[in-house]
């Protein structure tokens, strides 16, 4: 639809060369109507259970607005309550033992804000979670979306097979966390931060790093319409060959959450709204309903969802993908005509080429030296194989 509308514009304006899209500032009611946003996920794993409370921020000035000093309790259907402590601004937690996290139990949130407003959630039952059968990948080339003629992005796509039984929930969500190892070309020898530094011997501690990233996409299924409570080849994330992710060692951690039907509907709506391509006017966005309410002023919508899930985990490692060449950015050196005099404090520390005695005038790019420049950590994760 959008495509041919665009074309019509060209038909009409062909000879007139006029732009039809311009910035527009709608008058949108702002912060006065800010709503509470509660995000809480109770898992079956013994340990801290986290709840965060924030407020919506106006569209013109987006930001994270934590809500502090709330009194929060998780209450189960046997009236046991667990009081949460604020450990960071707007973030609350409570340690729960395994015996307190049982399948079949329903949990709810009871929140009193510093202003005395009472927010409560529906009970959400913790259903049992089916097993993860296997997680694997396939080599895939996918067309890039907006280029003409088409070009392809090379990479791999992960798939999951889930094997549950009739006692398990029929609704699942997968949360993916990726970790990968990456390296830089050389140790630190020369760097400049207003003064020249020469590392002797060269500092090789920052040549290998590990980075961890939570994949934000929402992956959910319902097996309600299937003859068995299992699923084969559900497509998960795609990893392309333009970073070092698949160069050395890549790890994917899959957290499989069992969901209630209400939670499934919530996350599915969230997924559909996120996948919209900005054509707001042509298709209506979904009006997403969570399971929290403001008891003090019922007309105030509370966003977010409090869910209880049993979790099954699986971690896989990927090394040396066949038929895939990694085309990560090479180590490039920029020659500075005036040497370090061209650098400003913004660039510090600037890693430079140099001889045994003198700093050079080549500025080393990010893939060349000091892997911390690309984020990550030099502390090897516990689960990382030797």
């Amino acid at each position: 639809m959008n495509q041919f509308k665009k074309a019509i514009v060209f038909v009409i304006l062909a000879a007139l060369s006029s732009s039809c899209v311009k910035l527009y500032k709608p008058t949108i009611e702002s912060i006065d109507s800010a709503n509470y946003v509660v995000s809480g996920r109770l898992t079956s794993i013994e340990g801290y259970q986290y709840v965060t409370i924030s407020k919506t921020s106006p569209i013109i000035d987006p930001g994270y607005i934590p809500v502090e000093k709330c009194e929060i309790d998780i209450i189960d259907d046997k009236s046991n309550s667990f009081h949460l402590e604020e450990f960071e601004s707007g973030k609350y937690r409570v340690w729960m033992n395994q015996s307190e996290l049982t399948i079949g139990t329903a949990y709810m949130l009871d929140i009193t804000t510093a202003l005395g407003e009472k927010l409560i959630s529906d009970f959400d039952t913790m259903y049992s979670c089916g097993e993860i059968d296997s997680v694997y990948y396939e080599r895939k080339d996918i067309p890039s979306s907006n280029s003409i003629p088409f070009s392809y992005i090379k990479g791999i796509r992960f798939y999951i097979d889930m094997a549950g039984d009739e006692t398990n929930s029929k609704f699942y969500r997968w949360e993916l966390t990726e970790t990968w190892e990456y390296k830089v070309a050389q140790p630190i020898i020369w760097y400049y931060d207003g003064v020249s530094h020469h590392e002797v011997p060269p500092d090789a501690t920052r040549m290998t790093c590990w980075q961890t990233n939570i994949i934000g996409n929402i992956y959910i299924i319902s097996t309600e319409n299937l003859s068995a409570n299992s699923y084969k080849m559900y497509p998960l994330s795609f990893v392309n060959n333009s970073t070092q992710r698949l160069k050395h060692l890549y790890s994917l951690l899959i957290n499989q959450h069992s969901l209630s039907e209400e939670a499934y509907t919530y996350f599915n709506d969230l997924r559909l709204n996120t996948n919209q391509d900005g054509g707001l006017y042509t298709k209506q966005p979904i009006d997403i309903k969570g399971n929290l309410y403001n008891q003090s002023s019922p007309e105030q919508v509370v966003l977010g969802f409090f869910s209880s899930s049993e979790i099954k985990q699986k971690r896989i490692f990927i090394k040396d993908v066949p038929n895939l060449t990694i085309e990560d950015p090479p180590c490039d050196t920029i020659m500075l005509r005036w040497g370090v005099r061209e650098l400003s404090s913004r660039d510090y520390p600037a890693y430079m080429t140099g001889s045994d005695t003198r700093i050079g005038s080549g500025l080393l790019g990010k893939p060349c030296v000091d892997c911390l420049q690309m984020g990550g950590t030099i502390v090897k994760p516990d689960f990382w194989p030797n």
């Binding site: 039809c20 311009k22 965060t52 924030s54 987006p62 319409n225 966005p285």
Partner: protein
């Protein structure tokens, strides 16, 4: 001889210096002007000298209101009631008192002109000296009949083409009553014997006033003549006082093109959007919203052929060639009982018949397309054909675009129609064929093709003097093919068609003087194939999905009575009983009770055999209208209207896309129904030449279809999983002021209209917007349109259109929030914001060539500027997230003024429109 001329000269006024031309065409607008003054004026205008004796004309007052008339005829008309004769001599006009005198003149010629003074070749005619009027005597005097009303019938035809005129009106001044001619051009009145003044009126034609003397039953013919010979103009008519039908608008394509149009394409649908209560879904988009209804609630017919897509180029132009349109009626308040099947309105187009006297051709060339109409008699006065064709050549515009995707694209359309018609004394017969085709390819990314083919046969017959029947068979096939190649692995092709075949029979039955019955039958059969979504190209891995074939029948029987108990009161009451059944073979799925209708919740299925009814839906529809004439110039009208709809369009967008599918009501999807109540006040202000109307309406629809968020009709044959049904409330006020002056005419229309939707099912998934009422996508509270035509000179006129609309409703994001460190957008309640208001001024000028009578080709130029102020009107507003910041953009279709020039021509001077 010389002596005689000198004698005349002595009596005469006026100058002799320049030689004039008595055949020159002038416009004459005089009211009670003394003859001497009238002559002076004509002499000044035309340099024609008029010789006469002052004493002959002392008491003659002239009243003429005609746009184009020869000098000679004007004078003849002015002297109609006298015994004075008009003679031409050396390009001067000489009046004479006595016959003998004239015959002696050596250069005297009597010129019998065809026009203007048209003494009907009718036995009943005789001239009468009083009141300057022609008298028609009906029947023979019989004193026995004096206390009984007599039936008086008049057949109204076009003088030059012989075509019957439908909707022409008669108004009996003394009785303040009138009626309109029916489908076979006959109007009928019951009058006590006596003398009456009868005014015959038909828009675009000269008014005729006759003195009628009724003695007994009888009939006569009236030939009406077109006013002016401009090539084109669109005039709005619908003498609301006379035809006494509330909520009807008529656009008569008498003569088109004064109104400025985008890209120079004349478009009756766009002109209809200037009327109160009708708004466009968007600039350059297909579809209109009538009285708050959605765009699929309007039925379109061209000569009884149902049309499912009325647009070319996605809505930039309408699929109807304006040059063949005779009559364009829009029913939005009280919908006559022969129509059914749509909730909001009926757009009914009648095309012209071919010229029955002469061969003629006319056409036009605009920046986008060219069109040609050819018409010819087959048997003079009895049978004729008319062919029309229109084709675009818009690819050259695309080729000029620097963007390679666009310059490799192609857009073209054509439409064609052919009609044969036969007019016998009691029977009229016509065959009409219509085809419209559109093709659009966006480089190799996407391709759209759609077409309409239609054929209709109609037969009208007068069984007795009191019973007339109209029968028609029509079939329409709308097809589209879409190829979407934008994602190689998901590329697909879809073919769709819908075929509707109808048979109708309508009877008009004048039972008594006070009861006019109308009854008939209507059979409809639908076949539609939503098509198969199949992979396109070798690399596509799209799964083939058959969306299924549907069949349905919709039959109706109706009856109505127009009862006129008092001269000032008309009551029309009617009932239409319709029966709709979707037919097999089909499998309907049963969903788990109290669960959302989604595929996962299917628990069972029911199979229906071929042509087996899936369910029966019967609807008695009651429609009633009351018209009360409060005084000579005012009427109050009340109407109640019930409608049902069994056919819906599957579309989540507001504008009608060329791949929007029509879908029949089925096992799950219920037919929708509507009740509308309207009240209107109509007032004529003759002294100001103004006509005003104000109407209010309330309408309530049940089972209004809305689509679930994210509905995709190419993903599932199970439409019920994507549809919700609820209620629609609409109400509004429509005000219109029309002016028809000598030089200035036009109208202003203001509409206040609300359209609110409530989808409030029992369960959460059956609700939209939490079950709260929200504005429909096409809810436009305020809209104002003004159309002004100003005739500067005979051959030069300017027109302007002013349009204002409140911005359309939209859902905007109001805030952002974070869940698990990822940001999401929170939206406002549905449609609680509006995009910016719409405002546009257009200007056009029409320049005609000289109006000499015997010219071979007449032509004119239409110059237009669309969006004169270059205002950047928003079509939509959308939002994009860039680096965690939400940016909003406005998208407009036209943001600059567009200049167009169109050339229109006509072969010969035969009145063909």
């Amino acid at each position: 001889m010389i002596k005689f001329l000198l004698l005349i000269h002595l009596f005469s006024f006026g100058s002799e210096t320049n030689i004039g031309d008595p055949q020159q065409i002038i416009s004459c607008h005089y009211t009670n002007t003394p003859f001497v003054e009238f002559c002076k004026d004509i002499e000044n205008k035309t340099n024609t000298t008029i010789f006469y004796k002052k004493t002959w004309v002392e008491n003659i007052m002239v009243t003429i209101d005609i746009d184009s008339i020869t000098v000679e005829n004007a004078i003849q008309l002015a002297l109609k009631s006298t015994s004075l004769k008009v003679n031409i001599w050396n390009n001067s006009i000489i009046l004479s008192e006595e016959h003998e005198l004239i015959s002696n003149l050596p250069n005297y010629q009597t010129q019998e002109t065809k026009s203007t003074i048209n003494y009907e070749k009718n036995n009943y005619l005789q001239t009468k000296s009083a009141n300057n009027r022609v008298e028609i005597i009906i029947g023979k005097k019989d004193n026995k009949l004096i206390k009984q009303k007599q039936r008086v019938r008049a057949k109204i035809t076009d003088k030059s083409t012989g075509e019957i005129l439908i909707g022409a009106t008669i108004y009996i001044e003394e009785l303040r009553t009138g009626t309109a001619s029916s489908i076979n051009g006959i109007l009928e009145l019951y009058l006590y014997p006596g003398k009456y003044t009868a005014k015959f009126n038909f828009l675009g034609y000269k008014k005729r006033i006759y003195q009628i003397t009724v003695n007994s039953n009888g009939s006569f013919n009236v030939q009406m003549e077109k006013s002016g010979i401009e090539l084109s103009e669109i005039a709005i008519y619908g003498d609301k006082l006379m035809n006494k039908t509330p909520g009807v608008e008529r656009i008569r394509a008498k003569v088109v093109k004064q109104i400025p149009m985008m890209m120079g394409e004349v478009d009756v649908l766009k002109i209809s959007e200037m009327l109160p209560g009708i708004v466009s879904v968007g600039e350059g988009s297909a579809g209109v919203n009538v009285r708050g209804g959605s765009s699929d609630q309007n039925a379109f017919y061209i000569n009884k052929i149902p049309v499912f897509n009325t647009s070319h180029l996605f809505g930039f132009s309408s699929a109807f060639n304006p040059d063949i349109i005779k009559d364009f009626s829009i029913y939005k308040g009280y919908i006559p009982l022969q129509y059914g099947g749509r909730l909001a309105s009926v757009f009914d187009i009648d095309t012209r018949h071919g010229n029955k006297q002469n061969f003629t051709a006319h056409g036009g060339i605009s920046p986008l397309s060219a069109n040609l109409v050819v018409e010819a008699p087959i048997v003079k006065d009895k049978a004729s054909v008319i062919l029309s064709g229109r084709s675009s050549y818009s690819d050259w515009i695309l080729g000029r675009v620097k963007d390679i995707t666009i310059s490799n694209s192609s857009a073209n359309f054509y439409d064609f129609s052919a009609e044969f018609n036969l007019d016998l004394p009691k029977t009229q017969f016509a065959i009409f064929f219509y085809r419209s085709n559109d093709f659009f390819a966006l480089s190799d990314i996407a391709q759209y093709q759609y077409s309409t083919d239609g054929l209709s046969l109609s037969l009208n017959h007068n069984f007795t003097e009191k019973i007339r029947g109209a029968f028609s068979i029509a079939s329409s096939l709308y097809k589209f093919n879409t190829i979407d190649n934008s994602e190689i692995s998901g590329a697909y092709e879809q073919d769709y068609y819908i075929n509707q075949s109808t048979f109708t029979s309508e009877f008009q039955h004048a039972l008594t003087q006070k009861h006019n019955l109308s009854y008939g039958l209507n059979f409809n059969y639908y076949v539609l194939n939503r098509g198969t979504v199949s992979p396109y190209g070798d690399e596509s891995i799209r799964q083939t999905l058959d969306l299924g074939i549907e069949r349905g029948k919709e039959n109706a029987i109706y009856f109505s009575d127009k009862y006129s108990p008092l001269p000032w009161l008309d009551v029309t009451f009617g009932i239409r009983y319709s029966l709709y059944a979707p037919l097999g073979d089909k499998t309907a799925y049963i969903y788990r009770e109290n669960k959302e209708k989604i595929e996962e919740n299917i628990i069972d299925s029911i199979s229906f055999g071929p042509y087996q009814a899936i369910n029966w839906n019967s609807f008695p529809e009651i429609r009633a209208a009351i018209s009360i004439e409060t005084d000579r110039n005012g009427t109050i009208k009340l109407a109640f209207n019930q409608m049902h709809q069994n056919l819906f369009m599957l579309s989540t967008t507001i504008a009608i896309a060329p791949n929007s599918q029509w879908k029949l009501a089925d096992y799950h999807l219920k037919p929708s129904s509507n009740n509308q109540f309207s009240l209107g006040i109509f007032r004529n202000m003759p002294s100001l030449k103004l006509e005003g109307s104000a109407e209010i309406y309330f309408s309530y629809s049940e089972n209004y279809t809305e689509f679930k968020d994210g509905a995709d009709f190419l993903n599932t044959p199970l439409v019920e999983t994507a549809v919700l049904q609820g209620n629609q409330h609409a109400y509004g006020l429509e005000i219109m002021l029309k002016k028809q002056g000598k030089y200035l005419d036009g109208w202003m229309a203001y509409t206040y209209s609300r359209s609110l939707i409530e989808i409030n099912g029992i369960n959460d998934w059956d609700k939209i917007n939490n079950g709260d009422i929200y504005p429909a996508n096409h809810d436009i509270p305020h809209s104002f349109n003004a159309v002004v035509n100003y005739k500067i000179k005979k051959r030069l006129s300017v027109s302007s259109v002013i349009t204002y609309q409140k911005g359309k409703p939209a859902t905007f994001p109001t805030s952002t929030y974070f869940v698990d460190n990822k940001s999401y957008i929170d939206y406002s309640a549905r449609n609680s914001y509006r995009i910016p208001d719409y405002f546009r001024i257009d200007l056009s000028m029409s320049i005609e060539g000289n109006l000499k009578k015997n010219k071979f080709i007449h032509s004119s130029w239409q110059l237009g500027i669309y969006n004169l102020t270059g205002r950047d009107n928003a079509y939509s507003v959308y939002f994009k997230s860039r680096n965690n910041l939400i940016k909003s953009y406005q998208y407009s279709i036209i943001s600059v003024p567009i200049f167009t020039a169109t050339w229109v021509f006509k072969l010969g001077n035969y009145e063909s429109i």
